[in-house]
Amino acid sequence: MKIDMELKPGDVVLLKVLACVLILFFMARFLIFPGMEKHQDLVAKKDDLTIEKQEMQYTISSKASTEKKIVTQKENLKKAQEGFYDLMENREVDSLITGLALKHDLSPVYLNIEDPVAGVPAAYQLSEASDDSSEDSSAEESQSTLPYVQYVNTTTVTITLQGQEAQIWELLDDIAKNYPGIQVRSFDMQSGTYVDSSLQKTEQMNCNCVLAVYTCGELSNTKGE
């Protein structure tokens, strides 16, 4: 069937406009807009890569200064951990604590050494640090140190000592003043009457004492040793 019809000028204009609109629509919808979206993706990717590149450049360029910084950091760390102990085996802890008791002429009658626990000890509950941010800071600390191993460890030692009250006070005073790596967590003093070797009745104090020994080192590294 042959269609033979004359188009009016208005129809021609309409067809032209329609053609223009269709061309605009299809070109924009299927070619130009996707191209622009792709461009935005490319710009975002480029920005990410640029940041990555800058970080790499900074890391590479700061290598020498970082190495110097490490030397300083190691020195500072050494100074900072003065007073704390390196990782110790139980026999070493025994030697330290028992030695301390014997130093003050006390008789250790019971000693229990628990496994060291990694983590920064909390601040005293009534201190400002504890009130303000001890929990937060410890939480933050644990968060911030997540990528790295815990370096500070606490070994809890329970010891029962017998001796004169004054000797026990001397021991506690000595620990407080001269052993920053040892903390008296709690104690319980009880007096008792005993018979000595010459069958004489003597008054002595029993002191159940819980001590915390703070050591520095990475536990995972020593587990296998």
Binding site: A19, L31, H39, L42, L77, S138, D173
Partner: protein, 475 residues
């Protein structure tokens, strides 16, 4: 720059130089006679060669001789655009397909319709014409037929526009008779004149010619009678012998009053065909040269028309294409930048350097973290109250010599310190509790009572030690 028209005729070539346009200006004319015996193309070639050497025209408009061309004038209904093109194609189709044809719009009127002049020539003729002009070195821009030129010329003469008349246009040995009815072309014929001009036989031939036209006109049964005969290209003296015969047919006769911008001294009547060739209207004109080159008129019109219609969509498409190319180039540039960055990042040497530097940086960060832990530990431990000799002495001193203090328990986690204060005398207990508080060692002092046994009062006290930072003992 002047325009040149060359009219090829059987006995001569006519050349005119001037300014083409709607009202042409003729500055120079020249008639170069040729030998009527022999190959006319060779004769025209020689004549053109002479003209070329004399005037050296760059481009010319060429009018074919009547004997080697055809013309058909048709009246069609008023139309324009594609419709007109189609009507013109139909008219030309009646002439057969062997001829190279084109058409010209002579006159267009909404009421009276369109006067269409279709002209054509055989392809061989055009080929020969092209060869000879090429050999002579003349560039032919335009090829038309004599009838178009005559109709163009007469179309310029406004005073004859509305009459019903016969116009006789004399050439060397022929006359072209055109019949107009109320200014509209109706009929034309071309006859050879065998008699010498001015003789009785010449007059007879002319009268016979006009009589034939009258006979044709009578068949149209038109109400408008033919009243006048105009002639051009023949002197008044020569034409005089025809006048009696024409008057006898109740017709008036007058020489054509052609008023054109014609500078040469020659008689303008003899150059009407050149003037017609110089007339350039803005309407469609015959150009057999263009059609024959393969750029058919209809095709050109269609192409032009199609190009015109496609212009806006094409521009839109072009703009979109430019935008697309811009976006593509933009993306390409970005991709190129990304590629360069990726190349840099993935470079083995850079990677190696980065791994080393990163390991160093991680070690530094690790040391930072460790130091923070140690510092934090020191800081936290410093907040605990230490039960040292000084603190114990202070607690003991509060009771004075009359009181013995026995510390029982201490828990650093809760800060609770319990002790017994033993006195053999009755003491002011509230004052003692206040004094304990005033030592600044405790945040709270709880007194839970006393017991009396063996002549001694034993107070039960439970205190919570202050932290080091809140006023407790210095660590």
């Amino acid at each position: 720059m002047s325009d040149t028209v060359i009219i090829l005729q059987d006995e001569c070539i006519l050349a005119a130089e001037g300014k083409a346009g709607k009202s042409p200006k003729i500055q120079k004319v020249e008639r170069i006679p040729i030998d009527v015996f022999g190959d006319p193309f060779e004769q025209w070639k020689e004549a053109l060669d002479k003209y070329k050497k004399k005037h050296n025209p760059s481009q010319v408009r060429l009018v074919l001789p009547t004997s080697y061309s055809s013309a058909r004038v048709t009246q069609i209904p008023y139309a324009k655009g594609r419709q007109l093109t189609r009507l013109a194609e139909n008219v030309m189709a009646e002439n057969g397909s062997d001829w190279v044809q084109d058409y010209a719009l002579i006159k267009a009127d909404r009421k009276k319709g369109i006067c269409l002049c279709c002209g054509g020539a055989e392809e061989d003729v055009l080929k020969k014409i092209r060869e000879l002009t090429k050999e002579v070195g003349i560039s032919v821009q335009w090829i038309s037929v004599p009838m178009e030129c005559y109709l163009n010329t007469l179309g310029q003469l406004k005073s004859y526009q509305n009459d019903t008349e016969i116009v006789l246009l004399f050439e060397e040995g022929s006359v072209t008779s055109i019949l107009f009815r109320e200014g509209q072309y109706l009929y034309s014929t071309r006859s050879r004149i065998f008699s010498e001009r001015g003789t009785l036989d010449f007059g007879t031939e002319i009268v016979r010619n006009i009589s034939g036209i009258l006979q044709f006109y009578s068949t149209t049964k038109s109400d408008v009678p033919i009243t006048k005969v105009f002639y051009a290209g023949c002197s008044t003296d020569d034409f005089e012998v025809s006048e009696d015969g024409i008057h006898a047919m109740n017709l008036e006769v007058e020489p054509l009053d052609a008023e054109f911008d014609f500078a040469p001294p020659e008689n303008v009547d003899d150059w009407l065909i050149c003037i017609g060739a110089m007339i350039s209207t803005r309407q469609k004109e015959i150009n057999l040269n263009k059609v024959w080159k393969g750029e058919g008129t209809a095709g050109v019109l269609k192409k032009e028309s199609l190009a015109k219609h496609l212009m806006f969509p094409a521009i839109t498409f072009g703009i979109c294409l430019v935008a697309l190319i811009a976006v593509t180039v933009w993306n390409y540039a970005e991709s190129h930048k990304i590629e360069k960055i990726e190349d840099w990042i993935n470079d083995p040497q850079i990677q190696s350097e980065y791994q080393e530097a990163n390991a160093v940086r991680e070690e530094s960060d690790r040391l930072d973290s460790i130091q923070n832990q140690v510092e934090q530990t020191k800081s936290n431990l410093a907040t605990y109250p230490d039960l040292d000799a000084e603190m114990i002495a202070k607690i003991v001193d509060v009771g004075g010599s009359a009181m013995t203090v026995q510390i029982k328990t201490m828990d650093s986690e809760t800060g609770e310190l319990t002790f017994n204060a033993v006195s053999s005398a009755v003491i002011d207990i509230p004052a003692y509790v206040r004094k304990l508080s005033e030592t600044g060692l405790f945040s709270t002092v709880n007194y839970s009572g006393y017991s009396y046994d063996d002549g001694e009062y034993s107070l039960m006290l439970s205190c919570v030690l202050k932290g080091a930072e809140t006023g407790g003992e210095d660590q």
